[in-house]
């Protein structure tokens, strides 16, 4: 495995060089806090930012996205025929994505890229994106990524994994995409692979020691869906929830979406928007019937999906990467780690 060192004095220059080939994304501060967004030509990523408020899932799965359009002008031969919206195909690079968010993209991939159907919008965005990760050396107090099959130096879903060594980055090139990105930046100072890996291991252990939150998930798969669904604790879990949906929007693994049509003049556009299982409308039938009409049913759905249905369906662990965003953002302090513990320890009578 190849390692390179990047002197921080060369970092901005390298990014500028890569802009000829790539659209560059990275963490920046805006009026809503720190977010991973496309960087304008004179802006550089805030690499020392902590957990971004929103996850970078929007790079592949925008909060709102045009899917199809049609003209409603009946003088046109193709009126009322819906056609896919043309998408850009410039390569993109996401700088400073954290390992937990990179794993989240792999979990979301199970949904959008499966043997039966491939979502062309997500898949094409994924194909043209390179992920340059930054290892977590100073974990957030809410971080529990070591419990979720991830961790501060996890390489899953990344093309490059970098560690911040004050005056330089030590970067492990993991894929051809990563190699290409380093080439486009002109980063080519190779470092001794064995020594670098040893240093990565030391830093990883150090960071893992600083992650104090943990959660057991080992017994979730052996429980029955119906037992957990009928368990008596859901009223308590949901009691304080105000169904605001914040947890679903900040979550890097929440992928549910809505499809809506809009018409402007003679053009119809079909969009998809992030949706949330916390909203009663999510499952509301046109007849008025709602299978998840009460708050407790919706809260249960969110945790059952992440911690049980997904576990059973894909056998890839829980649908949570331990970033801690929902724990930090929840206005009423609902903590997925506590819910997971309750579910994992539940014994039906």
């Amino acid at each position: 495995m190849k390692f390179i060192t990047i002197d921080k004095k060369d970092w901005a220059g390298g990014i500028d060089k890569s802009r000829k080939t790539y659209q560059v994304f990275g963490p920046v501060q805006d009026e809503n806090g720190c977010q991973i967004k496309p960087l304008p030509p004179d802006v550089y990523p805030l690499m020392d930012a902590g957990v971004t408020v929103m996850s970078p899932k929007s790079v592949l799965f925008p909060q709102t996205e045009k899917m199809l359009t049609a003209t409603l002008d009946e003088t046109r031969e193709d009126h009322h025929v819906m056609k896919p919206v043309e998408k850009e195909d410039t390569p993109r690079v996401v700088l400073g994505i954290r390992p937990y968010d990179a794993r989240a993209i792999q979990l979301v991939k199970l949904n959008f890229d499966n043997p039966d159907y491939q979502d062309p919008y997500w898949c094409k965005a994924y194909e043209r994106t390179t992920f340059v990760g930054l290892a977590v050396t100073h974990p957030d107090p809410c971080d529990f990524s070591t419990s979720t099959g991830c961790g501060p130096f996890s390489e899953e879903g990344l093309d490059v994994l970098m560690a911040d060594l004050d005056d330089r980055y030590l970067a492990k090139i993991l894929t051809q995409k990563g190699e290409d990105w380093a080439g486009a930046c002109g980063f080519d100072t190779e470092a001794d692979a064995a020594e670098s890996q040893a240093l990565f291991d030391i830093l990883r252990k150090e960071a893992e020691k600083n992650i104090t939150a943990s959660v057991d998930t080992d017994r979730l798969s052996e429980k029955s869906i119906l037992d957990l669904h009928e368990a008596p604790f859901w009223d308590d879990v949901a009691f304080s929830c105000i169904n605001c949906g914040t947890c679903t929007y900040v979550c890097p693994t929440c992928w549910c979406f809505d499809i809506q049509d809009e018409t402007k003049h003679k053009t119809a556009t079909r969009f998809r928007n992030w949706d949330s299982c916390m909203s009663p409308l999510f499952t509301h039938h046109a007849s008025g019937h709602n299978p998840r009409g009460s708050k407790v049913q919706r809260v249960r759905q969110r945790f059952m999906h992440k911690l049980k249905y997904f576990v059973d369906k894909y056998d890839q662990g829980i649908m949570c990467v331990g970033c801690g965003r929902c724990v930090a953002s929840c206005p009423v302090n609902i903590d997925i780690r506590e819910v997971c513990k309750t579910m994992n320890n539940y014994e039906s009578k």
Partner: protein
């Protein structure tokens, strides 16, 4: 890469008012592009998204049968934004159809078996598709006895009335048509709710008998015990579920019952399967 969100363009070829209260209409669509009909090859029991540009999409069971060529048919109840818009459209209008979607009635399993079809109200669309499919001369010999129990509030609320009465006259299908009540003195079929007619007329189950049940929740609730009493086991009862849907391909996340997605893993489930999932439908 195929884009599963792009509908096939279709033209409305015919619109028929299906019930006396005009709340249901049957739409016949013809594909605009040659080749799309073959790509839309479907099985009885599947559904599709009817797609109106600028308005939206609705998941609707396919009422035509795979043995009927040159068109597809859907019977639609006017209830929300898209269905209301559709009810106001006219012959010749262009829209889209996306599909076929979901699984279907288990035709291989039903081969050489007695099939009992039980429907209520306007949940008779994919059942019509199934009956036409089984009665097709190429298929009839693949099934043993066919019984159909179908009921609606009143004679005028029965879907596909002419076909029902035609099937009544045949000797290779046992029709048990019923209405909740009627003041028509010439009504020559049953009167009473579907579960009662099932109790009285459905064949007693042996291991070669399967039931397909579609209807409003209240009908299903009372039909189930009647079937159990007649000896049907949970794996011999097939049901088609409905839930709010958007994508129809198992991605948008809303139609799940437990880990099963009604749009992709269903809509057809055995009662045995349904009993193992949360009742979120």
């Amino acid at each position: 890469m195929e884009n599963p969100y792009v509908p096939y363009p279709v033209r409305i070829d015919d619109i028929e008012v299906a019930t006396e209260d005009k709340s249901l209409k049957t739409f016949t669509f013809v594909f605009q592009n040659p080749g799309d009909e073959e790509k839309f090859a479907y099985q009885a029991g599947q559904f599709a998204e009817l797609s109106i540009p600028g308005v939206g999409e609705i998941p609707i069971g396919i009422a035509s049968s795979p043995v009927e060529k040159g068109f597809v048919k859907f019977t639609v109840f006017r209830t929300g934004v898209v269905t209301s818009h559709l009810h106001n459209m006219k012959k010749g209008d262009i829209m889209g159809i996306r599909g076929p979607l979901g699984n279907w009635y288990p035709w291989e399993k039903l081969e050489n078996k007695n099939v009992v079809i039980i429907g209520g109200g306007f949940a008779f669309t994919t059942l019509r598709s199934a009956i036409v499919y089984m009665l097709d001369p190429a298929n009839r010999s693949r099934f043993k006895n066919i019984d159909v129990i179908y009921g609606a509030r009143s004679p005028g609320m029965l879907l596909y009335r002419q076909e029902l009465f035609d099937w009544e006259k045949r000797d290779d299908i046992n029709m048990h048509i019923t209405v909740d009540s009627t003041d028509d003195p010439d009504w020559k079929y049953h009167t009473g709710f579907v579960p009662q007619i099932v109790e009285k007329n459905a064949p007693v189950a042996d291991e070669d008998t399967y039931a397909i049940v579609c209807g409003p929740p209240i009908m299903i609730k009372f039909t189930q015990p009647a079937l159990t009493q007649l000896g049907y086991q949970d794996h011999q009862i097939f049901m088609s579920l409905e839930n709010r849907m958007k994508c129809g391909i198992g991605m948008c996340g809303r139609c799940n019952i437990g880990k099963e997605l009604v749009c992709k893993d269903g809509p057809v489930f055995t009662l045995e399967q349904i009993n193992q999932t949360p009742k979120e439908y």
